[in-house]
Every structure is written in structure tokens, then in C-alpha cells.
Subunit: 450 residues, 2 copies
């Protein structure tokens, strides 16, 4: 039942674009969902995509435009006149329209807003642009159904019919006082069952979750998710209803945040995709590799300090990748658990308790792994004192790595820095250096002679 | 405006539980959202939590129970009788009730279902339990508003009022034929604006997205997200409407999947949290560390094969952690991008093109990093041929690591295995071994003499 974007379909569209057969294209794409049109546009060259945007009804293309990847959209918008952009915007909800305008250069923003015929939309966009990017104000849409507490249910239904014209999906009806201050909400279900003469003030639910225009996106997502909300009203400093945020925007936000954290943990700077070009990918990846390289050169420097060990215990140098791997893996595990815990707000209790727990955990893991190393030494007939030195120093490395992995994110979080950057290359690299130093230092204490 | 669960509040509740002051507890918790009650329950000991569940109205506690972490819920359910569990279930939507029943032991399942007074609910739960865990059938709820195409709008409103009693949130009204086959949908908005005598068949929207009971959760999430749906109907093999899935379940699913992938990438087996106990955490972490250890021992074995190099070029052994780090980091980067691309379905185009791109990318990164290594060698006055050997072998390692990181997830995906397991320790470990072998092998070719 789902539309499938096939290579054949794309070729057919491209052919029709080449011969500029507008009618055939209109007919072919007439019944297709805007999200599929968006996928199609992403597969086309930007001049082809622009041709389609100009050809098809704005009603269809505006939503598709709004779904596109930022960089694909940028290329298309560059090929449209301010008037053409304004026409697309007129078909969109205020939040999506404002998002697109926000991506334009400032001079073009003014031009585009000037060309919007609907004055209310233009004013709404100007208002939404004022808010900080990561706040509820920038995320909200102005479209909502709002009734006054003094109205009757029948009057309310009349007014709602009028307002609902502009609102794609009605989740809740928000009830305000005569000054526009949010008082509560009314569910459509309640409205269906109340008699027409009842006053809204008698039937509305005064308890309503809301956020302010300054609430951060992350907090909005947390609240909507926790309380299973499908829409949440947004008020200003005075409690006046300004807009609402719907769950579909939050779904996108949650997904983007998760991808960002995942990429950070993998040592990739924000927001690249498999089909980005080589330069974009290099820019996202090289800095983290350089960090890793400096870490590796740090290890070289440390080992030069223990050079004497080469004469007596060269085998120790065969174990450095193992030690580095253990330090890195333990650090990444610890930090990943803490980063997720911080994100879900379930890192509670005292730091001392956490410290004891992490050390305990590292001891268990370290002892188990140490035994395996001893066993390996026994099997290959290695000097037992060397096996002990390796096992004990590895145990210490694991404990330190666990502590670094646990407390670096906690400290970053306390300082207001996103702890997610601490997972991945950052932790791995610092743990490599610490780990190798500790390994040789403790081995020297146990073995002596270098 | 949000309720904040403070330590003081928890202490107050615990005190009241100790003195068994039921009235005070009922009053204190009366006005609190079930999601906050759930957070409170997670902070209490399980006998305390059970006391609260028994004390408070099922209307409040059932939803809280449904929000709890699996392991907390398990402990509480173990302390409740089948009859008490059945009472909680009666207040829940069918999907949440079935989820809880699914967690019980099989004998207890039968007993609990037997104690449910509402026969329809019991039958619905039995039906939902039949479906595979990861499919739409297991995710859907039976609660929905369904009207027949032959009805009038007025009759429909009457019937809806009756049905809506059982449905927490009405998203769409589903239209079926007399045999229950899904024909389309009707929005509440449309219903508000149509006249009472109109037949449903004249006003309903025949185009409706749907999934079948066998559609996998991942696909359901993809569709709902792509088309910004807040609910989707679920049909059986014959097209008969069986239930619906709402976006709040999908939000939870998306979040859980993201966390699972993140943990896999960090080398943690599924579903542990910062506040789980030491044994749970060890079980989730130790296997991956053992994998890393075997990888490390593999490197030891490889280096023993190149032991002769110790006499002539001991410096090479100082570079092994650097090489391992580069191989690991590049591999993780490549695999993370591919794993995300596969999840978002945007890894397209031929494998050859991807191969060329990855090699190109690795060449750019590898040359840049190689130059830095040469520069480092120049600064510390290292033999230039050694610097060249290190830079060239590192470049090869980076290329191979990128290819492994790219193609292992693609191959796993083709074989139907979750590619997410390929990021993290799996890739890091295998790349460490490959990397160190390649490093010494190529260095030997360039430097000779060992």
C-alpha cells in the first residue's frame, strides 16, 4: 500500500523533466504524499528539483520542501525568487514557514517576508524568528484552536469550525480568559458530550501542562514524552497563550538528538550522512582523528620514557594495544551509561556511592580479565611474574578508565557542557595515554630493573 | 508548574508508609500525574511501592505501573495476587494491559486473565498476546472509534459518543464496511463541519495509511514518522480492522531503539541503566571486554611474529597504540555513518561507488594524518625512512579500517543481522588486529632487515 520510490520511477520523472512535459508530471505526481515527493526531490539534481517545485501546486510542494534535508533545500531555495519562496510559505504552518525563513540570508529574509500576501502569516513568522533556536518559542506553531472561558459550548463549536480551517490537526482546544491568558483545555471528546448551552467555564479542565516560549527544546521533549502529550500549549512570561507544539516536531527532535549523540560517540562532528560528499565527511571526521593521533603520539612519548624496559621485558610492549583497548572500551562503556543516565535524568544519589559502585564494577571486570591474562600467560609459558605484572597493571588501568569515563561526563554536565562529547574519541584518547603510562609504571614497580 | 520529585517528598511518603497513614498518603498523592507516581515508585523499596499500589485507586496506579521500568514492575507484580493484578489491568488500555500480562510467568498469566471481570478486555488481551513481540499486532491497542460507511453523520456522532467512553484519545474515526474491512477514515474536524443527514460514505477519506498485524515495529515507526501520523490503523490479512497504534508508543519505541544502538556502539549489551546493580552492569559489560581482551591477545601474538624488529626498529613498537587507535577510530566512524544510513534507509547507489568514496575519504584523512606523523618525526629528529614507513603503513591501515567499517555493517544488514552490533567493540577489536599486522608487514617491506 505504501508508495515505493523506485529507480525506474526516478528515471521516468527525469525523462519527463528533460522533455518539459509538465502535464504528464503533474498527473504522475498528483496523488503522491508530500513526504514521498520530498524523497523524490532528494534524488534529483537541484535544477530538476527546482523545476518540479515551480511546476507543481504549492500546496503539494511546500510540505515536501519543508521535509527536505537542509542542504538540499538550500540549493533549491537559491534558485527560487523571493516571490516564489513566499508562495510556498503561504501553504505552510507558521512553524515550518519560520524554519525555512530562518535558513535564508538576512537580506533575502526581509524580501521574502515582504512578498507574503497573508499579513497575519508574515507577522507570525517575524514573531517566531525572534525566539532562540533551541527554545519552545522557535519550535511552536501559531495555529491552534482557542476559546474564551465566557463562551457557551454552542458558540465554541461555531468558532472552532472557523478556526479549524487553518489548523491541520485539532488536538485540544485551549481555553483562555478575555486577556488571552491560558486557563485550561477542553478535549474534543468533552465537547461532543456537553450540551450546547453550557458555559465553557463549567466544563473545561483547568489542569493543563504548558511550557513557556523560553523553555528549552530538550525540556519540552522530556515533558511531552513523560506525560504522553500529543500537543502542548506555549505561553509567554505573562501566561498569555502564544502557540502550541505538536508531537511530530518532538519526534523529529528526539531522533535528531539521538543521532547527534550517536555520531559524537563515534567521533563524527554533527549532522553528516552516508550520502554527503567527501569534503563534508572529511570535515566531520578528520578533527577527531587528529585528536586520536595526538593521543597516539603522546603514548609514543610515554613509552620512550620507559625505553629501558625494551632490554629486559620487551614482551610488555606487545601488550600496549591490549591495554589501550581495555582502557578505551571500559571508558566508553562507563561514559555511555552515564551520558544516557544524565539524558534520562536518572543519575541520582551521591557521588561517593557512584564512585564506590564504579570501583566495585571495575574490580569485578578487572579481576575476571586479569585471570584470563594469567591463564593466557600460563598456556604460552610466559614468566609468571610478568603475567602478574600485566594482570595487576591492567586491573589498575581498568579502574582508572572507569572512573575517568564516569566522572568526566558528570563534571562536564555540571559545567553546562553537553556530556555526550565525552563519549568516544575524547575518552578513548585520554584513557589510552593514562592507561599506557599506568601500565608501565605499575609493571616497573612489580618487575623492577628498568 | 511541573511537579518535582524531591528527596524531601520521597522521605515524607516513606514516613507515611511506615506509620501506615493511608488517608494522608491518598490525600498527598491524589492530584499527582501517574507518570510522577511512577517516578516515585521507582525510588521506593518494592514493599513500599507495593503498599502504595494496593492503597491507591487502580485508576491512578495502573497507569503508573504501566510506565515503570520492567524490573521494578516485576518486583511489585510478584507481591500482588492475580486478582489484584487483574484489577489494575481493568483500568488500562488493551495494549498496556497485554504488555504487562506478557511479562508474567505463563501459569500466572492464565490465572490473571481468569480474574479479569471485563470479558471483552480478557479476550482482547488473549488476542494481543498471540502476536509476535516485534510486530504491529503486539504494539496495537484494541480501543478505537469505528463507524460503518452506511451510517449517517448524526448516527455516527451518537455511536462515537458511546465508543469514545473507552478511548482515551480520539485521533481519527475509522470507516469500515459491514464486514469490518477498513475503507478509510474520517477526521473529527470533517465530522464537525458535515450535516447530520449526510452518509459517511459520502464524506470519508478513502485514502488511509495502515499497517498489518505482522508489520514490524521498525517499519511502523518509519511510516508514522515519515508521514507525520499520530495514529495508524492495523488490519489483519483480510483487511479487517483489528486495532490502532498511537504515536506515544512509537515515541517510546524510537527512544528505546536509539538507546539500544548507542549502547551497542559503546559495547554494552542491551538495556542497562546507570542505577542498575553491579551484577546487571557486569553481565552487560564483561562479554564485550573479554572480546576486546582476545583481540589484544591476538595483537600480542602478531607482534611476536615480528619480534626481530625489536633489534633494529624498536621505535615501531611505541607506535602500536597509535595505529590501533587510528584503526579503531576510523572503523567506528565509518560504521556509525553506515549504520545510521541503513536505519534511515539512505544508503543507496552501487557498492562500487561507495567503495571508491570510502577509499577516497580514507586517502584524504590518511594523507593528512601521515603528514602530521612525518612532521612529528622531523621535529623529534627521527630517522626519515622510519617516519615514511610509519606514515605509509598508517595510511594503509586507515584505508583497510574504513573498508571494514563500511562493508561489515552492509554485509550484516544484507544477511538480516542488526548492523548496529558492528559498531563499537566488534569493529574496534578486529581493526586493532588487522591494523597492527598491516603496520608491521608494510613497515618490514619499506625498512627491511626483520
Amino acid at each position: 500500500m505504501q508508495f515505493q520510490l523506485t529507480t525506474d520511477f526516478i528515471k521516468q520523472v527525469e525523462q519527463l523533466i528533460i522533455v518539459k512535459d509538465g502535464n504528464a508530471l503533474r498527473q504522475l505526481l498528483h496523488d503522491i504524499h508530500f513526504a514521498d515527493i520530498a524523497e523524490l526531490l532528494e534524488e534529483l539534481k537541484s535544477d530538476e528539483a527546482t523545476y518540479l517545485i515551480k511546476l507543481l501546486e504549492s500546496e503539494l510542494t511546500s510540505e515536501a520542501l519543508s521535509e527536505l534535508d537542509d542542504d538540499v533545500r538550500e540549493k533549491i531555495l537559491n534558485r527560487l525568487s523571493p516571490k516564489e519562496i513566499a508562495e510556498e510559505l503561504q501553504e505552510l504552518d507558521t512553524d515550518d514557514a519560520a524554519d525555512i525563513v530562518a535558513e535564508l540570508d538576512e537580506e533575502i529574509q526581509q524580501e521574502v517576508i515582504g512578498k507574503i500576501e497573508d499579513n497575519e502569516l508574515a507577522a507570525d513568522i517575524v514573531e517566531l524568528l525572534k525566539y532562540d533556536e533551541d527554545t519552545a518559542g522557535a519550535l511552536m506553531a501559531k495555529e491552534l484552536v482557542q476559546v474564551k472561558e465566557t463562551w457557551t459550548v454552542a458558540g465554541c463549536v461555531r468558532e472552532m469550525r472557523r478556526q479549524a480551517e487553518n489548523v491541520t490537526r485539532v488536538h485540544s482546544i485551549y481555553v483562555t480568559d478575555t486577556e488571552g491568558k491560558l486557563k485550561g483545555r477542553l478535549s474534543l471528546k468533552d465537547l461532543l458530550t456537553a450540551s450546547g448551552k453550557t458555559h465553557i467555564s463549567e466544563v473545561y479542565i483547568p489542569k493543563v501542562d504548558y511550557v513557556t516560549v523560553h523553555t528549552e527544546n530538550e525540556e519540552v521533549a522530556r515533558i511531552m514524552q513523560k506525560y504522553d502529550l500529543e500537543a502542548i500549549p506555549v505561553v509567554n512570561e505573562n501566561g498569555v497563550l502564544m502557540g502550541r507544539i505538536t508531537i511530530d516536531d518532538i519526534v523529529d527532535f528526539i531522533k535528531e538528538e539521538a543521532e547527534k549523540d550517536y555520531q559524537l560517540a563515534a567521533g563524527i562532528s554533527q549532522d553528516v550522512e552516508a550520502d554527503d560528499n567527501i569534503w563534508q565527511l572529511t570535515r566531520a571526521r578528520l578533527p577527531w582523528l587528529v585528536l586520536g593521533l595526538f593521543g597516539g603520539l603522546g603514548s609514543v612519548y610515554i613509552m620512550q620514557g620507559f625505553e629501558d624496559a625494551l632490554n629486559h621485558y620487551p614482551i610488555l610492549f606487545f601488550f600496549t594495544p591490549l591495554i589501550a583497548a581495555m582502557a578505551g572500551n571500559v571508558g566508553v562503556q562507563s561514559s555511555a551509561i552515564i551520558v544516557q543516565g544524565l539524558a534520562n535524568d536518572n543519575v541520582k544519589g551521591s557521588l561517593l556511592k557512584r564512585l564506590i559502585k564504579e570501583v566495585g564494577l571495575a574490580l569485578i571486570n578487572g579481576l575476571a580479565l586479569g585471570l584470563l591474562v594469567m591463564l593466557f600467560g600460563f598456556i604460552v609459558g610466559q614468566n609468571q611474574l610478568i603475567s602478574i605484572a600485566i594482570a595487576v597493571s591492567m586491573l589498575s588501568v581498568i579502574i582508572v578508565a572507569a572512573l575517568v569515563g564516569t566522572f568526566v561526563p558528570i563534571i562536564l554536565d555540571k559545567k553546562g557542557i553537553d556530556p555526550a562529547i565525552a563519549t568516544g574519541p575524547f575518552i578513548t584518547t585520554s584513557n589510552d595515554i593514562f592507561g599506557i603510562f599506568l601500565f608501565f609504571y605499575i609493571s616497573r614497580i612489580i618487575l623492577g630493573g628498568f
